[in-house]
């Protein structure tokens, strides 16, 4: 009951603060009055009695204060008073409050926005059951870079013969052409084994999810026919959340499937940035399932409770190696063993790509916040010196120093609260800007950041740390206030020595951090320029690329005449679609190919040189591009030796191939490759190809990555069954018209023809530079912000000095100093501050260069040009900020300044 009665009293007091206070006063007053009357009874006058009572019992207000301090929740009351006082102080200085709030808000907002992104990409675990027990079962092959699970027969073997896993699932993400109510659209989908949802522990919100039974019959699925599971996102967005969606027929490609259920909200598949909307059974992929040497999907497994990693890996590894020996796939350096990769956060492609850039951006945002803190500290310090009198007075009437410091921290906290509100608002906007920046032109990376406990904890911790940081200087200053001399500093003399020194220190910190940020900004900008201006081996002007797809029969192919004919027929089919496009006046060149620069498509095979002893040290891996002759014209790829493809290189003529320089150097280091024969073991075409030419290297995957060996073969002599090609057109004039014609041709002449992903090559280049642009844009925006804050800091401190030294300047001028020397006097301070900042900042740039060098292209982390630009920019801004107070100083009238005393 105690706590209850106390709580009621406390609450009542909070609610009726005024009344409780006046009652207390009255009660104490009554006591004192009684005492006074008693003394008057002894013959004293009222005045004498009052004085005597006070001498004996002290001041009534003091007694009331003691009672208040003894009460429960006194500190809350104190905090409330502090906060109210702080509000009042801020309201009295709206300009200062706004400036401080804005500098902190920008810093906090930047940090919250970027942390939200970091959280989404790097920290959040998948919304599945016990994500930490999930592992990807990958092959370890140093050379292949990317990783994937084993071929399907091997997966089935591992799945059925292990003791450490409670389940394994296979999945393959793909772009699906989904037809809903007669409308065809492209979306991200996946093939998944029947165990997928069970292994992950994903639940349906509607209907049911796939089970192993639904994934048991090749080409059909299960007893209920082909089923599909759709994402919550698609259900809400495309079907309006209708429960009637279960049982609905849709088409994926040409296969009709029935929607069985909807997954739980938030579950987007296992690849961050690539949300999966439609999942259909693995069995619908057809004959890929039997291919013993095809690596085409990922495997995720759930370890049993407490199962150790290494024995689990070793158990799978042994079986995997046996399988590879049996199928003859071992020893080429690509698929050498099994590794288990933690899967709690999903496939790591996005994390690998963005971890370093995000880290750098986070560091940049941190620096901006520090600069903002320095700014706010400086503003508060300037005000604290104006409030020195108030502080001294409060000390004199009995406030403790701790109490004053607490008051200042409360003010700091209040400012940070305001700034955090501004920051959260800015962050919301910033996050969507960042998401758009990352998504690129074609929305390749889809992120849906949401605020979770980590973001909230980060915001709160960031805010607290911030307010602590920028309140320290003013608090220290307040603690030095002199109770004995309230009003002392109304006289000039010792005014502001402390704020002056502390303020200068803060400005030096600002300049230091700014110069670091500016150097970073200059470096990232140059790096981006280097990449966009890079000669990648292909021309990017006026080129449009599209992806054209057709539906091909899913028959099993075996090496032989039939297969050769079939592949040739498909190659011709693509040529028939594209070649007539060249007739249009607007088209300068037209090409079709299986791969294209920056298209994100890749195909790697092994190549061996005929008539040559095997060189075991040679890496036989090579990329293969199956292209028309026009391909080289569209992209302006220079021929270095021999010839390119000709119309005569058809299905029934001699098979020919072209190498790029890298391939020529790797496979024919000392000889001329033209005229030599090569073949592609393990592929459906076993015949040899004669090398007829060598072309210049072009960068394919990214602009950063140097060209890798590549072999080109004519489309009609393709080695793959190409159900999709990239059509590239070099257009002059009406590109949109050409695309419309092409779209119709693809749709009308091809079975299941579909065209998508239209983009200019320049757009693809831009998109491939997402990381670089992220860094460059943010480094420059934040660098500019830092410069602005530093300029405000310099202006503030220099103006303050000028005011302090007005008298001195007046005397100097009175005894003959010229205006110029006065200006110099003031600018010297600016130069000294900047010099100090640079002296610390430049070594920091050198110290930090190795940290960012991996993100730079074609420029050193300590590039003198970039550093010089940063220094020059900083000096210009610093002198600009200092020149206004300098000019004002030179206008000082000696007479007026001396009379001020």
């Amino acid at each position: 009951m105690h706590w209850l009665s106390r709580a009621t009293i406390f609450l009542r007091r909070l609610l009726h603060r005024g009344r409780a206070d006046s009652e207390l006063k009255e009660e104490v007053q009554a006591y004192f009055e009684t005492m006074v009357e008693r003394r008057m009874g002894h013959g004293l006058t009222r005045e004498e009695a009052r004085r005597a009572t006070r001498l004996e019992h002290g001041d009534p207000d003091r007694v009331s204060e003691l009672v208040r301090a003894a009460r429960a929740g006194a500190w809350i009351e104190g905090a409330y008073l502090d906060a109210r006082y702080a509000c009042r102080t801020l309201r009295r200085n709206p300009g200062l409050a706004a400036a401080a709030t804005l500098s902190l808000g920008l810093g906090l907002g930047a940090n919250i926005a970027i942390f939200t992104l970091v959280n989404t990409v790097m920290l959040q675990s998948l919304p599945v059951r016990d994500p930490e027990r999930l592992v990807f079962i990958d092959n370890s092959g140093g050379k292949s870079g990317g990783s994937s699970g084993p071929p399907y027969p091997c997966y089935a073997l591992l799945r059925d013969n292990n003791q450490y896993f409670s389940g394994m699932a296979a999945f393959k993400e793909d772009e699906f052409r989904v037809t809903i109510d007669g409308v065809e659209e492209k979306m991200t989908g996946q093939y998944a084994s029947g165990s997928y949802f069970d292994v992950l522990g994903v639940r349906p919100v509607l209907g049911r999810l796939l089970t192993p039974a639904d994934d048991s019959v090749v080409g059909l699925g299960g007893p209920d026919g082909p089923l599909a599971v759709i994402s919550y996102r698609l259900w809400k967005g495309r079907f309006g959340g209708s429960p009637a969606v279960v049982g609905k027929e849709i088409r994926v490609g040409t296969t009709g499937v029935t929607i069985a259920g909807v997954t739980q909200p938030g579950f987007d598949g296992l690849t961050p940035g690539l949300p999966v909307d439609v999942t259909i059974p693995m069995m619908l992929t057809g004959n890929n399932l039997q291919a013993k040497r095809l690596w085409w999907f990922h495997v995720v497994g759930r370890l049993k409770e407490g199962a150790p990693m290494e024995p689990a890996r070793a158990e799978l590894d042994t079986q995997f190696k046996a399988y590879m020996d049996e199928t003859g796939g071992r020893g080429n350096g690509y698929f050498s063993g099994i590794v288990l990769v933690p899967a709690a956060k999903g496939l790591n492609g996005l994390r690998r790509k963005f971890s370093k850039p995000l880290e750098i951006v986070m560091a940049i945002a941190g620096l901006v916040l520090l600069i903002g803190c320095a700014n706010a500290a400086n503003l508060l310090l300037a005000r604290a010196s104006a409030r020195r009198n108030e502080m001294a007075l409060r000390l004199a009437i009995g406030a403790s120093r701790a109490r004053l410091v607490r008051q200042l921290f409360t003010e700091g906290l209040l400012l940070t609260g305001l700034a955090a509100a501004v920051g959260v608002f800015l962050a919301k906007w910033g996050v969507s800007a960042l998401v758009t920046l990352l998504a690129g032109v074609r929305g390749r990376i889809v992120l849906e950041p949401h605020v979770d406990w980590r973001v909230m904890a980060f915001t709160v911790a960031g805010g607290l740390l911030t307010s602590l940081l920028f309140s320290i200087a003013p608090a220290l200053y307040a603690a030095r206030a002199d109770a004995a001399r309230p009003g002392a500093d109304a006289r000039a003399g010792d005014t502001g020595a402390f704020p002056q020194r502390a303020g200068s220190g803060l400005v030096v910190v600002q300049i230091t951090l700014s110069v670091v940020l500016l150097c970073g900004a200059a470096l990232f900008l140059r790096s981006l320029r280097n990449l966009t201006g890079l000669d990648a081996g292909f021309q990017r002007e006026d080129v449009i690329t599209v992806l054209a797809e057709a539906v091909l029969p899913r028959t099993a192919l075996k090496p032989g005449k039939e297969t050769e004919d079939e592949l040739a027929r498909i190659g011709r089919m693509w040529e028939d679609v594209t070649a007539p496009m060249a007739e249009f006046a607007a088209a300068r060149a037209v090409g079709a190919s299986s791969l294209g620069p920056l298209s994100g498509r890749d195909r790697g095979i092994l190549m061996s040189v005929s008539g040559e002893p095997d060189r075991p040290e040679l890496d036989h891996g090579i990329h293969v591009n199956q292209a028309t002759a026009g391909y080289f014209d569209v992209f302006g790829i220079t021929l270095l030796a021999g010839r390119t493809f000709a119309p005569a290189d058809g299905a029934n003529s001699r098979r020919v191939a072209i190498l790029n320089e890298a391939a020529a150097q790797r496979f024919f280091p000392d000889s001329n490759p033209v005229g030599r024969q090569v073949s592609f073991p393990g592929q459906m075409i076993t015949e040899a190809y004669e090398i007829v030419g060598v072309v210049r290297d072009t960068r394919y995957e990214t602009l950063r990555k140097a060209a890798e060996p590549m072999v080109y073969v004519p489309l009609q002599q393709a080695i793959d069954r190409l159900s999709a090609v990239i059509i590239a057109i070099r257009a002059r004039g009406d590109a949109a018209g050409l695309l419309a014609v092409l779209r119709d041709r693809v749709r009308e002449t091809l079975p299941g023809g579909f065209m998508s992903s239209a983009a200019t090559l320049e757009q693809l280049v831009d998109e491939s530079l997402v990381e670089e642009r992220l860094l460059s844009v943010l480094a420059n925006v934040f660098g500019g912000l830092a410069l602005l804050l530093a300029a405000i800091g310099i202006y503030g401190i220099v103006s303050f000095t000028v005011v302090r030294r007005t008298r001195e300047i007046g005397i100097r001028m009175a005894i003959g100093a010229g205006r110029r020397s006065v200006v110099w006097l003031v600018l010297r301070q600016t130069l000294a501050l900047s010099g100090a900042g640079l002296a610390v900042g430049i070594p920091l740039v050198f110290a930090g260069k190795s940290y960012i060098e991996s993100e730079l292209f074609g420029i050193q982390g300590s590039d003198p040009g970039a550093i010089a630009v940063a220094i020059a920019l900083l000096m210009v801004v610093a002198l600009g900020a200092g020149s206004w107070p300098a000019w004002r100083a030179s206008r000082v009238d000696p007479m007026i300044s001396l009379r001020q005393e």
Binding site: M1, H2, R6, A30, Y31, F32, E56, H57, P60, R71
Partner: protein, 110 residues
């Protein structure tokens, strides 16, 4: 008059509760009564009296009520609550224990 003694920590609560056991009193009355009964050994100033009163009220051991003093002044007088009575018994017993213990200690020394 004897020199006022230092109050032992926590003794003031006991003194106040004991004083209020007989009848409700206001601030001055409590101070007077304590001084009177202890023959001036304990003089409770307002700086300790009022914080103690409010603390005891918060704990629910006493309850204040506004009324009139003998001289017709509006004063707040305090009365013991049932839980205050219980607390007083408790404190009395405690005090007896301490008192006995200290006496024994002193007797041994002598």
């Amino acid at each position: 008059m004897a020199q006022p003694a230092e109050l032992l920590q926590g003794t003031l609560d006991l003194l106040i509760l004991r004083t209020l056991e007989l009848q409700p009193l206001h601030g001055v009355g409590i101070a007077d009564r304590i001084e009177q009964v202890t023959r001036g050994v304990f003089v409770v100033g307002p700086g300790s009296l009022f914080p103690a009163l409010h603390r005891l009220e918060e704990r629910g051991w006493i309850k204040g009520r506004w009324g009139e003093s003998d001289s017709g002044r509006r004063v707040k007088s305090y009365a013991l609550t049932p839980s205050g009575r219980k607390q007083l018994t408790e404190e009395k017993r405690n005090w007896q224990r301490v008192h006995t213990a200290i006496n024994q200690l002193l007797a041994e020394e002598a």
